[in-house]
Symmetry: D2
Subunit: 116 residues, 4 copies
DNA sequence: TTTT
DNA sequence: TTTT
């Protein structure tokens, strides 16, 4: 996988308990969201917070680590690939979802560290 | 701007002539899309291409450089921040758009190089 | 500064109390080292640790934050630029030093968070 | 390999024909240097160029690609890991070398593209 | 010289 | 929906 061509990296906090699905193959898939928070002063000198939410998906062994170690509020660093996919709503409309497929995750600020 | 907390980096090709808008302030905004192409072999050993399309937005001086130098097919490297925003359709439905706000752009493979 | 052309990013632990120097201009300079630790299994299946040490330098307001908040063992994320410089030893020999000039630092896993 | 903990990325030009060594195992090793060029204005408003040289090492299949496709002056993008090692001079002194072990390389601005 |  |  080319991480020079398509790379996302986030350091932020997990929004809620990750959702774990079990595939027929026995593999797990973990889906969760990460908030990245930035603080800066606007043109009036007021402190402003810019929070962005990101959809994140991981597979296999990493999904198992996430099921075990990641919970709401935890600080993580992830590296992955930016992807979009489309699906149809029940009324036949096309919708787009942007997700980050994770290649690597670090659990930060943890004594019981469980990095991949 | 924190590029440790929220960073996207792409190396790819511009999909079409960038769309340039002029703000009332005199500033320009350039919007365009970038395709990132990856090639890999699937489990059957067949060569597969995965192309992802990304929405990219830049402001000010960078938008001017893009108006001058960037055209359909050009190879560029960008670094920016992953953002999402929502808007309402005419029928009152909420839609989400994910865009990359560019902090830096390089024009690759160019003799007449015009990096920011 | 082009972080697309020359970028280093580290997540690791500070080796010892940073050294702070005061320039005549009133500016501060902070120098310290960061250990990055990787764990992997070698060809015999044994768990191996690869630790790399990096020299890191920061200026100005960031150096002040480092003086206040960073100490031996703390986990930090940094982004910067890879630089080399040479100097002469007392016996007239040329020596080379490689250092990372920091653009951004995050203090990780911290309740009393003091990010730049 | 953890590219979140220890990552270097460079976009620059190769300094001279890469040096290729053949290991007893049959593997190849390619060593070369990359110049990264930055342009900025100093406090007097003069245009200044800052060129940094970096030592780069690659192994195996990538070294073969480098032998085939890379030559003096070529523009490349690399991603790798920052490492230092020490050796002894003939007079018994310890010397340190900092090198980037490459994980990924792109050959830029090339019609006959030969990315890994 | 850190950390797990 | 997180965090400071």
């Amino acid at each position: 996988m080319s991480t020079l061509r398509n790379k996302v990296q986030l350091i932020g906090n997990v929004g809620q308990t990750p959702e774990i699905r079990n595939l027929e193959s026995g593999k797990k898939v973990a889906s969760f969201s990460i908030a990245t928070n930035e603080f800066y002063k606007n043109s009036k000198g007021e402190k402003v917070q810019d929070t962005q939410w990101h959809n994140v998906v991981t597979w296999g062994k990493q999904a198992e680590l996430i099921e075990k170690y990641v919970d709401k509020g935890k600080e993580v660093a992830i590296r992955g690939k930016l992807t979009s996919r489309s699906y149809e709503t029940q009324s036949g409309e096309k919708r787009y979802v942007t997700e980050i497929l994770v290649n690597e995750i670090l659990f930060l600020g943890n004594k019981e560290n469980a990095d991949q």
